[in-house]
Amino acid sequence: MARYLLRRVPSALLVLFATSVLAFVLPRLAPGDPAVTIAGPDATAAEVAAIRADLGLDRPMVTQYLHWLGDALHGNFGTSYLTDRPVTQLLLDRAGSTVQLAILAALLMVVLGLGLGIIAGSVRRRSARSALDLFSTTLLGTPPFLSGLLLVLLLGIAVPLLPVSGEVSLFADPVIGIQYLLLPALALALTQSAAIARLVRSAMDQARGEDYVQTAIAKGASDTRVTLRHVLRNSLSSALVTFGIRFGELLGGAIVVEAIFARNGLGTLAVTSVNQRDYAVLQAITLLAVAIAVITQLLTEIGLAALDPRIKLESAR
């Protein structure tokens, strides 16, 4: 376990470090001098120099980076050029919407992924198997925003069951809130759940060929018992290890899905900040998204290493 951590943690830290450097450098790659922009067209050279000193732009890059990183770790991401408000405040205003969406989507992703995978791995009829295979391959090839669009067409416009635009916080009104949340979360979850389903299925197929399953069948264990106790239990770890990776992509997908469903979350904020070249905001969102993605991935792997003795053996080799 310790050796496994030793191997994985440095790589995760490196990704975080590189992302922080990239996020830090981002506004500095922009054309133009921020001090000149802030000072305005009529400013004298002395005024520009004063603003530059005020922003700390006259200090060496490394000092600036460490200063910026210290601030960021304390939750201070500077001021938005566009709205002149603290970036942290902007993020906090929007975070609730995205967090609700991501949590429900992650739950749906796991439930649907496992459900679909277990069904596909359990049915025997050839035609049913092929149909399920084609279904999950099609889902896998449908980007989240497109599932979202089709869900809107189907359940919002053709058969108006659920609201398709806007949002109500779960905390303000849980019953209405979940109606607004359901379609975007489902859209976000479908593609990723297909990936999990395919892994569960192929792991189950592989497990069925193992000797211990043959032994269980020979001992006269029922079909259900063989599937649940022997096949499934040994197939789960390989599928869940992708949860971390899938969760990161799910966060990225949220950007587009929020735009489709006109939700006022971090994704919409990110798109606006790219269009308006609001570097400070995108800097913070990038850092947060990558940090969450990397940490989730690391935690899933650590969790699995703790559960699955085989991973320990492999890393000790």
Binding site: A18, L22, T138, L149, G253, I255, V256, A259, V290
Partner: protein, 293 residues
Amino acid sequence: MTVDSQAPAATAGPTTPRPTRHRTLRRYLGALRRPRGAVGITLLGVLVAAAVLVPLFSSGYDAQSMNTFAGPSWAHPFGTDELGRDIAVRTLYGLRIDLVLLSAGVLTAMVLGTVLGAIGALSRALGLFFQRVFDIIQGFPSLILGMVVALLVGPGMLALSISIVIFALPGFGRLARAGLLSQERREYVLAAQTMGIPRWRVLVRHILPNTIDPIIVHTAIAMVIAIFLETGLSVVGLGIQPPEPSLGSLLNSGVRFLSLAPVYVLGPAIVLILLALSFSLLSDALNEEVLRK
């Protein structure tokens, strides 16, 4: 690769029979005969043919008319848009742009990734360095990476191409390096080395042909990733910009008129799903037929 036919068994060696080009080709064709491969290649073939031939039976993608937001009809199977342009025709022109952009991006990533992988296999230090760079790229959710690029170079075609190459690079780079390293101790490599052939030449002429299969098979999945990136970025307005048609930019316009003309998004949506599906099916078939042997 050409000596097999007359070479005595001693040099070819019974343990590592080197496949001829002919046999390699046969394995790829075998993949296309599997049900998934056959469906995949047929779908892709129809889509490519439609994209190539569309100028022959239409008067350009920006032919306007007064007939705006028309529903589906025989003349306009997927209706018309806000300027009365035929959506089916615009979708196929969009597909043209996408096919060129995506294949160019993926092929660039393939070549660059293979070169980086080969350098990484030759030099341990550079190899480790590239592996870490790939770790960093893969730490980013693809759309976040695309947004950062769009912020730096401005939204548009260039941002999209750069994002596709960067994001597809790690897959190819890792496969190339792993493949090359796994062949390093094989007899035919040692034989070539003993004959005094320079190391890079052994790599390119002898090892690379034996490691190229996983790389070729990976292009199918890389295409799916690139499709997701193009449409995802374009649909929020950070990729290809309307009025330039692409599957993503058409969906972007379609979303704006969703309540007014729900049919608008159907054409590009169906083509997008079929395109991604064809590459996924091809990838599955190639994985089973070419790699599992």
